[in-house]
Symmetry: C2
Subunit: 125 residues, 2 copies
DNA sequence: CTAATATATGAGCAGATGTTCATATGTTGT
DNA sequence: ACAACATATGAACATCTGCTCATATATTAG
């Protein structure tokens, strides 16, 4: 029993588990939070569309909007978020701003996700 | 001018861009949506904690709750979502249910995200 | 069957998120 | 300076999300 008078379930089940070991290899809460925040950036179809559109070459905001069938405003808002997360970087040329993927990691992460989807579709009936 | 009497911005800027080419290599909307949905699963710190806890070995629900300082209910709700997305799989043994990562892709994706975070922290001042 | 334990789930709620609309900022040409 | 164009941003709003609480289901022991 603990101080509250209730037995903690964890004390009774899966005794074989080495909890200390699991706890030791866990990253800090802050680190896990940051990773989650990173993946959150990829977790919206509008942002994913934008990122994928930038896979091969840079594009200006208006072209992205046109290509993806989105409002200029919506694209701009999402680009702001992506820029904040260092997933894309802007390059100004006169009135237009060209965006491109910030680094190759972004490409790798998306590719990995895409792979996983494809595999699952293959497995699905 | 288009039919609405407004010029489309995209017609005037970045003339050098080959939009057809970009459009051709774009995956279907459905595919992009699925990838976004996949990443959304990784985009919550509670779920990320759970996934990372399962990195090395399977764990039962109550142990996850204890280890991560979460309610059993909260963990169970998130496990349901993760299971739905085929990121984890359950194994029943008597009263307790052990969860483990569904496949190695999950590990790879998390590792890739973690790498990205580490790199950025290195770059930061 | 009943009690105890482990997990799952539905309802309700508070906070986060993405879009639209209007408007501001920045750049170029006249 | 002014007009036109490209982009950015703030406010408002509707939707989505994750948590808590209560309760249901499943399994085992007695």
């Amino acid at each position: 029993m603990d101080q509250d008078g209730k037995k903690l379930a964890a004390e009774n089940c899966c005794h074989g588990q080495n909890m200390e070991q699991v706890e030791e290899m866990m990253p800090t809460d802050e680190c896990l939070y940051d990773v989650a925040e990173l993946f959150k950036l990829f977790g919206d179809s509008t942002r994913m569309k934008i990122l994928y559109a930038l896979f091969e070459s840079e594009l200006c905001v208006c072209h992205m909007a046109q290509l993806l069938g989105l409002t200029q405003s919506a694209v701009s808002h999402q680009l702001r978020i992506l820029k904040g997360g260092r997933l894309v970087k802007p390059r100004r040329e006169g009135k237009t701003v060209y965006y491109s993927l910030a680094d190759d990691h972004v490409r790798k992460i998306i590719a990995q996700g895409m792979e996983h989807i494809m595999e699952q579709q293959g497995v699905m009936v």
